[in-house]
């Protein structure tokens, strides 16, 4: 946020995106550079993950039933959709998991929450729909439990 010009929150695309005013231009250039670094990092990370699994672009493409160019495109894509990333990982026989870590230590595995959302449409034998707030809380407890358990054992000798 520090490289944004004063008044950025009063953003006016007509005025700011085309403005040649040095501070606006510098902010735009910095944002573009950050986006490019992020894009390159995503692509490199995906390609590295694929190589670690001893897979080629062609073999991942074959598993997903797409052309090799599609895999190359994903590895060079500017901004990946979650569904695209999940599909890419699926092509490596992996499962994409989303973890949300909060500053207070709570860890929520968002993938399981999403899974529960999908299941709400699934007919079950008289079961009630999950209360997602509860599911998220419980998922957070499971996420941080191992850490707390280690603490519990460590503190015995403290």
């Amino acid at each position: 946020m520090t490289d944004l010009p004063e008044g950025w929150d009063l953003y006016n695309p007509n005025q700011h995106e085309r403005s040649e005013q040095p501070s606006y231009k510098a902010a735009r250039d910095a944002a573009a550079q950050r986006a490019e670094r992020r894009r390159a990092a995503y692509g490199e990370a995906l390609a590295a993950l694929r190589r670690v699994r001893s897979l080629t672009q062609a073999s991942v493409a074959q598993r997903l039933g797409v052309a090799q160019g599609e895999i190359s495109r994903i590895e060079h894509q500017a901004d990946l959709l979650f569904s695209t990333l999940a599909r890419y990982v699926d092509g490596m026989d992996g499962e994409l998991t989303l973890l949300v870590r909060f500053a207070d230590g709570q860890v929520v595995e968002l993938s399981s929450v999403l899974e529960d959302l999908f299941q709400q449409d699934r007919p079950t034998d008289g079961a009630t729909a999950p209360d997602l707030a509860n599911v998220i809380r419980l998922s957070g407890f499971h996420g941080s439990y191992r850490y707390k358990e280690e603490k519990f054992r460590e503190l015995a000798s403290a």
Partner: protein, 126 residues
């Protein structure tokens, strides 16, 4: 790698299985409450049976039951409260909530008793 154990999102196969799980959650919740009550008692008031119900060591270090249960109830206060909340809920719990709450209650009992989670229901507070 999933943080959640497998099968937590598997629906119960019948109403009877769901009711049995709800009863098991209520029993585990009651046991957690009894252990909390013990943890709140001053050490001299612990009976020999209560003292011997819990492990005496942790990681090879002496860990008397009063100290162990106090540490447990303080460290896992939020998790215990969540089990109480769901265990005492009048609203019907969904399968996923019920399985997760049951498992969390089992882990809490396993931690404080050092018993494998599969047999924590055998633990009885004297």
């Amino acid at each position: 790698m999933s943080l959640l154990p497998p099968e937590l999102d598997r629906p119960f196969s019948s109403h009877a299985e769901r009711v049995a799980a709800r009863e098991q959650l209520a029993r585990r919740d009651a046991t957690l409450r009894l252990i909390e009550a013990l943890a709140a008692k001053p050490e001299p008031e612990w009976s020999p049976a209560e003292l011997s119900a819990f492990p005496h060591t942790t990681n090879g270090v002496e860990d008397p039951a009063p100290r162990r249960t106090r540490r447990w109830s303080s460290l896992f206060a939020e998790e215990i409260a969540e089990v109480h909340r769901l265990g005492g809920s009048r609203r019907p719990l969904s399968d996923v909530e019920l399985r997760e709450a049951l498992y969390l209650a089992g882990r809490l009992l396993s931690t404080v008793t050092d018993l494998p989670i599969a047999i924590v229901d055998e633990f009885k507070v004297p």
